[in-house]
Every structure is written in C-alpha cells, then in structure tokens.
Amino acid sequence: MTGATSDKELILKLSNVSKQFGAVTALDGIDMEVHKGEVVALVGDNGAGKSTLVKILAGVHAKTSGTIEFEGREVEIGTPGRALELGIATVFQDLALCENLDVVANLFLGQEMNPWRLNEIEMEVRAWKLLGELAARIPSVREPIASLSGGQRQTVAIARSLLLDPEIIMLDEPTAALGVAQTAEVLNLIERVRDRGHGVILISHNMEDVRAVADRIVVLRLGKNNGTFGPDASQEELVSAITGATDNSVSRRAKARDAASSVEEGAK
C-alpha cells in the first residue's frame, strides 16, 4: 500500500468517525485528511458508506461519534447552513434541486443577492458566467429545473457548489449522468479548483477518472477504511481493496483474459 502523504496545509481531518443508522453501521471509525490544493478520491462499492460520509461533512446527517477538525479547530457540523458557512460545498448524489424553481433560483437558493429586493438581473448574469465556466449546455436559465436533462441538472448542481467559492468541494458521483465532453469539463474544473488551492473530495466509480485527477485515493469498504493509494496504484490493487479480496470477479476476468493471450500474470 502506498499512502501518498502531502506536506500542504491540512484543511479537513476526520478521526474515528462513525455513523449508525439504527442497527446499521454505515461508517465505522473512518479517518481521512484533506489538504489544500489536493484532490482526494473516495472509492468503494455500492453501500460502502461514501455518500453517508459526504452527508455528515455537509451537515445533512449527524455523526454518531468521532471528531472532525476544520482548519485546525474541532467543529460540529450540525446543519447544512453550518457546513456552507465553514466553506464546505457539496454536489449531492441526488443533486437536491427544486424542480419548481428555475436555474437561477436554484443556483442562488439560500444565497440570494439582496434579500429584500432580489437582484434578478445580477443573479442571472452570474448564473450565465458560472455555467459558462463549466461549458454548460443549458439553453435558458429561466426554465424550471423540471425541464432539464439529467446531465444539465448535474451541471447546475456543480455550478451551485462553486457559487460561494468554498474551501472544500465534495462531489458525489458528479459525472454519472454526464456526456464525454462534460465529464472532461468537470475533471478540468476539479483541477482548476485544486489549483486555486481548494480541497476536493471526489466520489466516482470510474477508476480512469479517479486516477486522472486524484492525488490520493481513499478506499472505503463496508463502512471502514480499507487503504489509501496514490494515483499510480494499479487497477488490481484498487479493485482488491474495494472488493476486499485478491481473488474477485474482476481479477478472475482479468486472469481469464490474460491466460487466453498467454501472458504471464504478475501477482501483487
């Protein structure tokens, strides 16, 4: 296991964080660190607890135990508003958009300019600029979210997380519904955010994407830490950490393929 360490300033540190949903232990003693200007990929099979971890950091769920340190101070993230205040922005897996409101209203929800006389024009202009940065293909920002495609909605959710210029941005499977160009654009964006010195937590099932942008890959399995890898980790290493076995369906397929082309396979 190669745990790449970062000498950059620490933003977020989780120690021994656990989350219980009734009888289900969704997270069990999770440790994780995010530094400035670093992309941490969070990978794991379905149900590993990735989204739960993100929701705890976003203030959606309360952790059962453990500590969270943000910029050196221990913090309680009791509400989503608190997370936003700290500078933790989130693109949720289910996007969390209001279908009855238009794109501008969704982007600025809770952060409207000029609360007692909404500045619709300024908000619309900023919406176009923000979406432009993402190379978004959204025909009109005055249409309700309900009329947008899945990918367009995802772009809106990503744009919204950037609005407040957060310290850390967490993206829960942000490219799942995106096309080729859009995925590349989001990966570019992640790099831009990182280069600005912010931290990024990226959840994705696409190992290619993960390896392309991540500085560190944190594997969760059944709610526990199951290793930290550098971006140069091999596919087999990652897969075995994710599935928890050196002999798993993915490696068996690889073996069969390798055997067929009679290439000697090197075990880890």
Binding site: A58, P80, C98, Q111, L118, I121, E124, P144, A146, S147
Partner: protein, 411 residues
C-alpha cells in the same frame, strides 16, 4: 451570430420570442404544457357572468357588483393567508374558525369590555399569529401533519368562539364607528378611483422600462417594448372599464381596495424576496431547501403565522361587514370557500406553485357564484352542493395540469 452576443441568447436552440407575436406563441406553448395560468379563472368568470345574468339580470348591475366586492374582501383575506400554507404543501383547515374567533375577540373587547377598536383588532391579530405559531410548533416538534393539527384546531377554536360569546350568542357592533362604515358603506370618490385605476398600468410600465434598461446594460436579452406597452395598456383599460362601471352604481369599496393592496404586497414578498423564494423552495423540495441552508422550520413558523393572522384579519372584516360578532361567524362554507378560492386562482394543493393573485382571482369566482346563487333564492343546501362541486372541479383541474406539466417536463 453577432459579437455582441447576449448571455441568454447564445444557445442556438432557444427560440427568440420577440414582439407581440412571439409573446403570443410563448403563451400558447405554456398553456399546452399545462401551465394554465389565469385562463380557467377568466373562462370561469365569463361563464358565471353569462349564466347568472341570463337567470337574473340583477347580477350584472353595478350595485350588485359593488356588494359582491364588499363580500369578497373578507374571504379574500383569509384566502390570501392560506396561499402561504398551500405553497409549503401544507394546509390550514381552521382558517374559518380562526376568523370566527377573531370576530368574537373584537366584539368582546370592543363592545363588552370597552377597549378602543384598533386595540381590539390588534389583540385579535395577535391571537391569530399565536395560533399559527402553535400549528408550526406541532409540525416542527412532533411532525404532526398540518391537516390533523388544524382540524383539531378547527374544533378547539370553534369552542373558544362559543366560550367568548357566552350566552348572548351574538354581539352587535356600533353602527356609527369607522370600522363598520368601512365594512358596509365607504366607497371611493369617483376621481380617486379613476386615479388609482391608472396606477397598476403605470407601475408595470415604469418598472418594465427600468428592467429593460438594466437588462440591456447587463448584456441580457430585453423583452419587447410592444409587449410591455400592450400589457400595461390592456390592464389599465380593463381596470378603467371596471371602475367606470362600478361608479355607475355605488362605486369602488375602500375595503376591496385594501384587500387588493395587501394582495400586491404579498405578491411582492412571494416573488421578490428571499423569504418568498424560500417558501417556494420548501414547497417544491423540502430536503433540497434544507441542504441549501434554508431554515425550513423557521419558514414554516412564518408561513403558518401569516396564514392564521390573515384569517383573523378576514374575520374582522367579516364582522365589520355584518356589524356583529356571532356564533355563526366563520362557520359553514367560509373555510372551504377560502381554500377553494386559492386553488381556483391557481395555487396548487401539492405545494411549490401559486401566487398571491390567486386569492384575488379565486375569491372573485367563488363570491360571484355565491352571490349569483343567493340572487336566485336557492336554499343554502343547494348552494353548498354547488360550491362543493366547484371546489372538486378546481382540484381536478389542478391535478390534471400537474400531470400535464410532469409529462411536458415543467414542474
């Protein structure tokens, strides 16, 4: 494509709806997709006018229409309040009883105790605000669905009303007071009503021009001048004709203008403030609103308090209209009339869609039906049945429009 590309016209898929023809085309598209807007109301009003006038010509006489507007203000205020609950996807079934309690408080404090009426009104409004606070607390603390808590409240408030009125059962309010004249006879002088009739069109025009220049400065597309002028002019024409017609009889009641002013104020709050935006967000997707940092529980508190306070205000207008606070006040069809008015006016029972205007438009429909049926000397049994059917129809239209919107991809 020019180099002065507007932000919102960069995508080649967006059809440019310019000018009057463009506005008409966009309107037809919206209606087709289930965004009916004011159409059901306007059709409804025309049908009602034609039917009732053919049955009894008195219906369209200016005196009767002035009467109708006097009657509409009280239920209209109650309806305006319930819009806030409906937008959240909640409901308040106790607004009728709340209005009854408010009228009882007014009667007892003003007549029996002898407190000046403005203070009595304040007390009644405070009772309304407190009731709303209780409903919101029950929902926030115990997750008690609002239709249950307010149904319980309906009964409890009715009990309170009977208790306050005691054995007398009814308290007559002083005829000579301003409050009662406001509710029964005060109408605007002609010149003032004509002057006020010009205001809405002027406001639309001036603010429309301001928005146009601001949008142009921000490099956004600018709505056509012709559409703006047509809107302002047609609205002014409609209001002027209505005012002129009413002035052939008794004139325009101050009470109704008061109601319209409140509707305008609430429309501003709903569409132009962060609070209003939050109400729509919570009604559309509560969890999304919460994750955006909106304090959902606080929004609920305000919405329920606004709702009950307007119900109390409506009760006070009803008392001043009748010059009495009685056991019957706020009972019977008041509750459902107010809710039906909001729904008929286009506020969805499913939350997240609607406007303050819906209370104004809907209450005109409801009150026109009610008034017409009274003119026909129909017994209240038939009136209840017919109004019940109208409410059912309004909800069916609401549901169908919702399904249509879903299939056309417009929430």
């Amino acid at each position: 494509m020019s180099d002065t590309q507007k932000f919102d016209r960069a995508d080649s898929r967006v059809r440019e709806d310019t000018g009057l023809a463009g506005a008409a085309r966009a309107f037809v598209d919206r209606v087709r997709s289930g965004d009916l807007g004011m159409i059901p109301v306007i059709l409804g009003l025309i049908v009602i006018a034609v039917v009732f006038t053919s049955l009894n010509p008195v219906f369209m006489r200016p005196q009767n229409l002035t009467n109708l507007l006097f009657d509409a203000a009280a239920v209209g205020l109650i309806s305006l309040g319930v819009v806030f609950c409906l937008l959240l996807g909640e409901i308040d079934l106790s607004i009728g009883s709340m209005s009854g309690v408010a009228s009882a408080i007014l009667g007892v404090l003003w007549v029996s105790v002898g407190i000046p009426w403005p203070l009595a009104i304040l007390a009644a409004l405070a009772a309304g605000a407190f009731t709303g606070l209780v409903y919101a607390a029950l929902l926030n603390r115990f997750g008690m669905p609002s239709f249950v808590s307010t149904l319980a409240g309906l009964l409890a408030l009715l009990g309170l009303q009977l208790f306050l009125l005691g054995n007398s059962g009814s308290i007559n309010l002083p005829f000579q007071s301003f409050l009662i004249r406001f509710g029964q006879i005060l109408v605007m002088p002609g010149w003032l009503s004509y002057l006020l009739a010009l205001v809405p069109g002027l406001v639309i025009f001036v603010f429309g021009m301001q928005t146009r220049s601001e949008r142009a400065a921000a490099n956004l597309s600018v709505p056509a001048m012709s559409v703006l002028v047509a809107k302002a002019a047609s609205l002014t024409a409609v209001i002027l004709i209505a005012v002129w017609y009413l002035n052939q009889g008794r004139g325009v009641p101050y009470m109704f203008v008061f109601f319209v002013l409140l509707v305008t104020g609430m429309e501003y709050i709903l569409t132009r403030t962060q609070f209003g935006r939050s109400i729509f967000a919570v009604g559309g997707n509560r969890e999304a609103a919460r994750r955006a940092g909106i304090k959902v529980e606080r929004i609920r508190i305000y919405a329920f308090m606004i709702c009950s306070t307007f119900a109390a205000a409506g009760g006070i207008l009803a008392a001043s209209r009748l010059a009495s606070a009685s056991r019957q006040a706020g009972t019977g069809d008041v509750n459902l009339n107010a809710i039906a008015a909001a729904v008929i006016g286009g506020t969805s029972l499913f939350g997240g869609r609607g406007s303050a205007w819906s209370a104004l438009l809907g209450v005109l429909v409801i009150q026109a039906i009610s008034n017409g049926l009274t003119l026909l000397n129909l017994s209240s049994s038939l009136r209840y049945m017919i109004l019940g059917a109208v409410l059912a129809l309004a909800v069916i239209v609401d549901s169908l429009a919702r399904q249509s919107r879903a299939s056309h991809g417009r929430a």
